[in-house]
């Protein structure tokens, strides 16, 4: 009992509310569709969630610093497209075994430029990463423009995205678990983690304490690019191919998941467990909307409303309502 209370005290309010909503969603869904509580369904949802989770991990680090990375959509695409195209670029003998590291390295390179711009040129992250997103898009369009590139995933990528190394546990979930464990260790047990939270609160103070804050910024942006690209590699393996704009649907859910998990947009506050809760919550919400299919209820009333409408509207409203519950700032006085 005391262990339980200790565990609950260790969690912050946002994490508890987000996990509470996950349970509510599952219970509510189970009332309508009993399959919701089956192990198969839950495992499948966790597999889908792990793609989002891997992508969100790096951006969470950047958001803890009080910055943001809007270059995720095309960094995801770069990760996927460069990994599948590695055989064509590096040659089949080197390209096939190195496909995954190559894709992630390309994403890290985008992150490196972002980090250089934000940390050393002191450019506002919002606009700099936006510019990099456009540049990444341009590079990928240029890459595919002249010739038909290799867009098939390698066997290894496919295995990592859809296979089950441990029976019953999808591989992407293992990837997410490993990445999450490393991130939790980084954030709670290392000086670098302390510095990340401290910079999010007051970069000036951290600089005066003798830390080269620019290097920390650079590290987080590189991590963000690498994680987004790793997400792209997983997605390409899952779909067995890569394509342009494959990352576009991920910007809003990623930021929403992190924010719903209690990470402050201004930086300095947030836990990885919260992000995990946010990612699962967003994934479940998407899945339940696609199962319930509210568009058919409206169709019976004679209103033809596309399914995407409900996804967008529910998404937006959930984000605002959840934030009103726990994301409010103090009133100015």
């Amino acid at each position: 009992m005391s262990v339980l209370t200790y565990a609950i005290q260790g969690l912050d309010r946002a994490t508890v509310i987000a996990f509470g909503c996950v349970v509510l969603l599952l219970a509510g869904g189970a009332l309508i569709e009993p399959n919701f509580l089956s192990a198969d369904y839950v495992v499948q949802q966790l597999q889908v969630a792990s793609f989002l989770g891997v992508i969100a991990t790096g951006i969470m680090l950047v958001m803890l610093l009080g910055h943001i990375d809007l270059s995720i959509p095309w960094t995801i695409a770069i990760g996927g497209m460069m990994a599948t195209g590695a055989a064509g670029i590096l040659g089949p003998t080197v390209g096939v075994p190195l496909a995954i590291p190559f894709g992630i390295a390309c994403g890290a390179a985008i992150g490196l430029v972002n980090g250089f711009g934000v940390a050393y040129l002191r450019a506002p992250a919002m606009i700099f990463t936006l510019g990099m997103n456009a540049v990444a898009q341009g590079l990928m369009v240029f890459h595919t423009g002249g010739f038909a590139p290799q867009d098939r995933a390698t066997a290894l990528m496919r295995e990592i995205a859809v296979g089950r190394f441990i029976p019953g546990v999808p591989n992407p979930l293992l990837v997410w678990l490993a990445l999450g464990a490393v991130t939790i260790f980084l954030l709670t047990r290392t000086t670098l983690g302390r510095q990340i939270y401290a910079i999010g609160n007051k970069e000036r103070a951290v600089f005066l304490s003798g830390v080269d804050t620019r290097r920390v910024l650079l590290f987080c942006f590189v991590a963000s690019g690498a994680c987004a690209a790793a997400g792209g590699v997983l997605l390409a393996g899952w779909a067995n191919r890569s394509y342009q704009a494959m990352g576009d649907p991920y910007l809003l859910p990623t930021i929403a998941a992190i924010v719903l998990g209690g990470t402050n947009v201004l930086g300095g506050r947030g836990t990885y467990l919260g992000t995990v809760a946010g990612v699962i919550l967003i994934t479940l919400l998407q899945s339940i909307l696609s199962v319930l299919q509210p568009q058919f209820w409206f169709a019976e009333l004679g209103l033809k409303i596309p399914a995407e409408t409900f996804r967008q509207v529910v998404f937006g409203i959930v984000i605002i309502v959840m934030l009103l519950l726990y994301g409010r700032e103090r009133a100015s006085r």
Partner: protein
Amino acid sequence: MTAASATAEPKGRSREAWRHRLAAQRGVLLAVAIFAAMFAIYGWKQEVGLTASIINTAANKGALLALVAMAQTLPVLIGGLDLSVGSVFVLTNCLASNIVVGGPLMTALGVVGVLAVGLVCGVINGVIVVYGRLQPIIVTLATGAVYFGLALALRPEPGGSVNFELADLMTRSFYGVPSSVILLVAAVVLIWIPYRRSVLGRAAYAIGSSEQAAFMSGVPVARAKILAFALAGLLSAIAGLLLTFVTYSGAAKAALGADYTLNSIGAVVIGGTSLFGGSGSAIGSIFGAFVMRTVGDLLIVFDINPVLQPLFVGIVLLFAVSLGSLRLLHIRNRLDLYR
């Protein structure tokens, strides 16, 4: 009172004052200069020269982004950001393709309705930001999703129509002056300048500089913020209306909204407005928008594959923000680098 003290100043002082005023407008002037240079190159490379129809097309394309960029300027000035401008733009476009039809009275009512919806979207953003005490960027990301969803519901498939006479009137030019430019000037004269000179407009600059200090000085922070978001919605709606006139139809394309939101931020930055709030002007954003659009036109006249447009727009954006980094060269105290 300021006028009286200005006339009382000796001559040397007034030159000083002019220099000061020019320095304050440096961002805007830079944007104007870049645009003028780019457009001159465009006209020079254009084989038929700058005919009225070429100017008209360029103005229509530029005015769409310019209006959205003006909209984006207001939340940026108070130190926020509005990621829903593109969605309001698309939503009002879809709405206009439904209701700006029929006879003159119906059309006029439709125009009023479209503008009112834009205004309401903006007020909703502002109210949630102010009374919900949430970060503008997250709030508008979420409301933007809602507005886009509504746009999809209004127009699941691209189509619809619009009052043709009005659309023609708004997209042609009079004696070489495109009506879209007249619309832009009207937006500046009727919305931006009165706003800039109003108490709430000045309050917006104060809030952008330091919200805490503004609040302590009795500046009406809540009202100023709501007004900034509301006018952003209104200006986006004007842009959405103009898009309907240009395309004669409505379409709920996610990529279109995202493109306009992102480019509007770029235009605001190129126009010399600080993303940290408190300094800049919507007029700079207009020229910033025209710079962004001329990049695309230049690619065409230089015979560069138009699919490379995002690459060049991105490079222009990165270049524009990196220009701001020049201040690092003459920074005296390294502490000033960090906030």
